[in-house]
């Protein structure tokens, strides 16, 4: 589904990604861990097409198409979704207007009919219920006045509503209390299927107790320096990053 080869990217003249390789197949969950500033959010933003990030080299193929050449809106329409580390507030635009607009634009791109308001309402109620969100949140402005945890939950609501092929969750777990973490995980697990894939960016092993990854990667200084199964996360939790950093530096 996603194939990243030798990806190099910079932001404001600073090289961040320095030759990153990653392959994600349908049905898989990949966790990406790594110290602060290693480039995790950069990777997420580059995949979603944030114009602040410049790609210098490398290839990204998504479902057989060249992702790099696509506009960010088309990436979303092709099925890429990024849950933001810091979701934006949009006063005056309700959650339902926002999501209905997004769904209909994606459908238009796929030459499908608009979703009927009735279908939309029942869908959003169904998804909000999974996330134990109050229906009143639906008619509230996007993220306006939401607590940190509510914003993260709202990102997952968007994920469930847009139902992409590839979900990239950038620290969706940070700032969540244990109950909220369980709920968000429930949402992500409800999303997961054999046809789609998930990239989880996280600092904490505890998220991976709820969403079981097939692979865990360590991103450091713009490169994936170690990959393994879910036991790698436990090892990182116990020992920190120093030992992997050393391994990587030895290799250089």
């Amino acid at each position: 589904m996603l194939s990243i080869k030798n990806l190099k990217a910079k932001v404001e003249e600073k090289d961040i990604l320095k030759g990153l390789n990653l392959i994600v197949n349908p049905g898989e969950v990949h966790a990406i861990m790594g110290p602060n500033g290693s480039g995790k959010s950069t990777l997420a933003n580059v995949l979603a097409g944030n114009p602040n990030y410049e790609i210098i080299d490398g290839e990204v193929e998504f479902c057989g198409k060249n992702l790099i050449e696509m506009s960010p809106e088309d990436r979303a329409r092709e099925g890429v979704f990024l849950a933001f580390q810091y979701p934006i507030e949009i006063p005056g635009i309700t959650n339902s207007t926002f999501l209905k607009t997004a769904i209909d634009e994606i459908r238009k791109y796929r030459q499908q009919e608009e979703m009927s308001p009735k279908e939309f309402i029942s869908l959003i109620k169904e998804k909000a219920a999974i996330l134990e969100m109050d229906n009143s949140l639906i008619s509230r402005s996007v993220n306006e006045g939401f607590s940190g945890g509510e914003k993260k939950r709202n990102e997952i609501l968007q994920l469930l509503m847009l139902n992409p092929k590839l979900a990239i969750l950038d620290e969706t777990d940070s700032g969540l209390d244990i109950d909220a973490l369980k709920i968000v995980s429930k949402g992500v697990n409800a999303f997961k299927s054999k046809e789609n894939a998930t990239i989880l960016i996280t600092h904490y092993q505890r998220l991976l107790d709820y969403i079981i990854p097939d692979f865990v990667h360590v991103l450091y200084k713009g490169r994936i320096i170690k990959s393994g199964g879910k036991e790698l996360a436990l090892e990182l939790e116990a020992k920190g990053y120093d030992w992997v950093k050393e391994l990587a530096e030895d290799e250089e």
Binding site: A48, G49, N50, P51, N52, P72, E73, R75, A76, R77, F81, L82, F84, P87, I88, E89, I90, P91, G92, I93, T97, F98, T101, A102, E105, I106, Y109, S141, Q158, L162
Partner: protein, 441 residues
């Protein structure tokens, strides 16, 4: 009379001609004010950009336009365009009063279901029928008048009058539609409005200037509003695109009153609003909202002055705008807190988004605080649409133009969502996007 200012002399000559041609009936109160203001007007210089309060607003187009003061002919001879009610409320029951080039058109107006004690209609007519209501208030809101206010005194033959007596609540909004323009000439239309709301009375008024042709017409308004003790007043001031408008709203509030004012300039050609509010009692709450969206070479200037003359009052002033192309906006917000006005809360903010490199805003907050126990804040920002927010929206598959509209809506939400009449809120929302050539959201 001296021969000091040529332009003033020109207008005084026009005044002499105009007096002869004006409606036979309109002698009396208003004519007296006109006669009395002649000398003052002759001595009062039109401002130039050298005057501090007019630094960023050049009125040379106004001075050059050789405007003809509107006469009764401009009222009587005219056909009424369909467009007169185009932007008025349709699904909300309202009282509608139409003024055509300054003259009250009773025929087009619809006044019904009104509490019998409420008096409203033509200043000219009611000043003759009930002079006692006028003597105390009309033209009394301020002592020293600006040149434009004196010009208004000279040429205003009529205006909107409203008297809401004690304890009366007027449920329906009152729409005052000023139709401006005639087929052949550049008109100067002067209206002098008076609103008196007595103790514990309540009312909402929507002023609308509607342009009727493409000539260079100017609407010169002078609106006086007196809010009695515990009165509740909402004023919406709006105009059609292309209009030129210069005027003053003078507000005097008494204790415990609640006052909301909205000033909308949505693609107006040239606007200078002076808004002066005097808080003349304690525990007054007043909100002043402004919204301007301008394009091409349009110009809007909002000058506000809020005088906290008594302690324990709250005012909040929020002016927001979006400018594109070569348009220009000016905001000047003065807040005066007098010496004994302790426990004053006064907030002011002016925020503008520039969608083009050539658009420009000049903003000037001025706080003059003579009391020590007060809370006053002010802030002005100028910026572009936030890139990160734009990306967030686009990353959901939403095209850039809609994403922009969403951010415009988000930016203006604080003002648009404060509009208390739902249908008006929708109309203003619509006009915002229309005026900026953006997709409505």
């Amino acid at each position: 009379m001296t021969n000091k200012y040529q332009i003033n002399q020109d207008y005084l000559v026009k005044f002499a001609d105009w007096k002869n041609s004006k409606n036979e009936n309109s002698v009396g109160f208003i004519s007296e004010i006109a006669e009395n203001s002649k000398n003052l007007f002759a001595e009062s210089k039109f401002p130039t950009t050298k005057d501090e309060e007019w630094r960023f607003t050049n009125i040379s187009n106004f001075l050059k336009s050789d405007l003809k003061p509107a006469t009764f002919e401009d009222f009587a001879s005219k056909l009424i365009p369909e467009s007169v009610f185009q932007n008025s409320l349709k699904n909300t029951k309202s009282i509608k009063l139409v003024f055509q080039n300054g003259f009250f058109n009773e025929h087009l107006s619809s006044i019904s279901n009104l509490n019998g004690k409420v008096v409203l209609g033509s200043v000219d007519k009611i000043s003759k029928e009930k002079p006692e209501l006028f003597a105390k208030y009309f033209n009394k809101s301020k002592n020293t008048k600006s040149t434009f206010e004196l010009l208004n005194n000279l040429f205003a033959v009529d205006g909107f009058f409203l008297f809401v007596p004690k304890n009366v609540v007027v449920e329906m909004p009152i729409e005052v539609i000023n139709l401006i323009g005639n087929e052949t000439q550049n008109l100067l239309v002067s209206t002098h409005n008076l609103i008196i709301v007595e103790e514990n009375a309540e009312v909402k008024v929507i002023f609308q200037s509607v342009l009727d042709n493409s000539h260079t017409n100017y609407h010169n308004y002078f609106t006086e509003i007196f809010g009695g003790k515990s009165s509740r007043i909402e004023i919406y001031d709006t105009e059609e695109s292309l209009i030129n408008k210069i005027g003053t709203t003078e507000i005097v509030l008494e204790e415990n009153s609640l006052f909301n004012h909205f000033s909308f300039s949505l693609s107006a050609n040239f606007v200078r609003n002076n808004l002066n509010a005097k808080l003349n009692g304690e525990h007054i709450e007043a909100h002043f909202y402004g919204l301007y969206t301008e394009k091409q070479n349009e110009h809007v200037d909002n000058h506000t002055f809020i005088n906290h003359a008594k302690p324990n009052c709250f005012t909040n002033e929020v002016y927001k705008g979006i400018l594109t192309d070569n348009s220009k906006a000016v905001f000047s917000g003065k807040i005066l807190v007098e010496k004994d006005s302790q426990k004053t809360n006064a907030y002011q903010s002016n925020k503008t988004i520039l969608l083009s490199d050539n658009a420009r805003i000049d903003t000037k907050p001025q706080l003059e605080i003579y009391a020590d126990d007060v809370r006053c804040t002010h802030g002005a920002t100028v910026g572009q649409l936030d890139k990160d927010s734009l990306f967030y929206i686009i990353s959901r598959g939403i095209p850039k133009e809609i994403a922009q509209s969403m951010l415009i809506r988000a930016f203006l939400a604080e003002v648009i969502d404060a509009i208390k009449i739902p249908e008006l809120r929708e109309q203003i929302n619509h006009k915002v996007f229309f005026s900026l050539n953006q997709r409505e959201i």
